[in-house]
Subunit: 214 residues, 2 copies
């Protein structure tokens, strides 16, 4: 292979494979599956069309791969196990900030949500991997954290998984629906912070023990 590593975008060298994936994420996210034109995609990737089909069997295959690629980039831990060292309130705040940021200010996340929702009968497998590696993994991580704090006596939670999902929902308040339905305008950092703080406040009122400030 000759010029596999030659092209660079923003100074970072990318292999042809990666360049195609990056362009795919961008295009699919912007225009949806049907709205994406493979000729255009090739041009944005700076690559000849046959090259794409040399790396990916299909438009659908590329679509799947692009979802996984995007999820891989987005390994920003929602609830890092390291948060367990913090006091419940601090840890919850960190988690809530991650969540509101994700819901309110992450474009890739939003676009792929839209795509999965829109196309879901045709690409159920794509939707499944998205859910498994995205939202569900996130709430699982949160649930683990909650268990730690519960055992440490800082929270009192009977159903950690359900509680985790409640927290996640609370973090969507005011910022997510608008984006899901409307123009993909970012929520401001102010809004995200506010929603996060309020979510934790409500969550602790229910699940916090006296000393935690519930």
């Amino acid at each position: 292979m000759s010029n596999d590593e030659t092209r660079s975008i923003i100074g970072v060298r990318l292999s042809i494979h990666e360049r195609i994936l990056e362009a795919a994420v961008e295009q699919f996210a912007a225009d949806g599956f049907d709205g994406t034109n493979m000729d255009v995609l090739a041009r944005t990737a700076g690559v000849a069309k046959p090259t794409i089909y040399n790396h990916f069997k299909d438009k659908a295959t590329l679509y799947l791969a692009s979802i996984e690629h995007m999820l891989g980039r987005n390994r920003a831990t929602i609830a890092s196990p390291s948060f367990a060292r913090l006091a419940a309130r601090e840890g919850l705040l960190k988690v809530a900030h991650e969540l509101t940021w994700l819901f309110g200010r992450d474009d890739d996340m939003l676009m792929f949500c839209k795509m999965c929702i829109a196309g879901n009968d045709r690409f159920q497998t794509a939707t499944d991997t998205f859910l498994r590696n995205g939202p569900w993994r996130g709430t699982d991580e949160i649930a683990s954290l909650l268990r730690v704090w519960h055992e440490r006596g800082e929270l009192h939670i009977d159903r950690p998984s359900f509680a985790a999902r409640q927290l996640s929902e609370l973090c969507k308040t005011d910022i997510f629906d608008a984006r899901l339905f409307g123009a993909p305008a970012l929520a401001t950092e102010e809004e995200c912070r506010f929603t996060a703080v309020e979510a934790v406040e409500t969550f602790l009122a229910r699940y916090g023990c006296k000393m935690t400030g519930g």
Copy 2:
């Protein structure tokens, strides 16, 4: 017009116009705008293709019309002002049950959300009317109720609108995302009741006054 009223589905007589709209809602919701094939749509409607174009100029026009059609069918009140007579806890439970029912067991609502999300760049006006007449009207109604209970001293709420949206989000826990992304399986009545009760519990923990049980 000859057999405008002759065909019947499930015993209800529908005009050709309505039959097309019903089929359109179903198809668009299931497959999105691009994924919908006009030949198939015609067949599902039990109508010849030219007939569709005799009633609607365009695929896009039909799409818009189908959204408005769906809106007209769905005039359920989430938070009736009459609930204000109830104690806060009872009233909130009623509201929460309405919400979980809507999120978990109302097919029209779900389809509608999918359609708006799928088409939104190209049909922003449709999405806007949906938001105004749907979710936003709902949370406004809830906010009014919250204000009543606040003034009556049963709740302590600084930002009623925000709190209303928090309640609404809490009522999605565990039942809405799965439907939005996955198969449109109904949430069981059990699940809805559970989520509603838990939502109210969490909500009151934050916003209830001592005597309310918060």
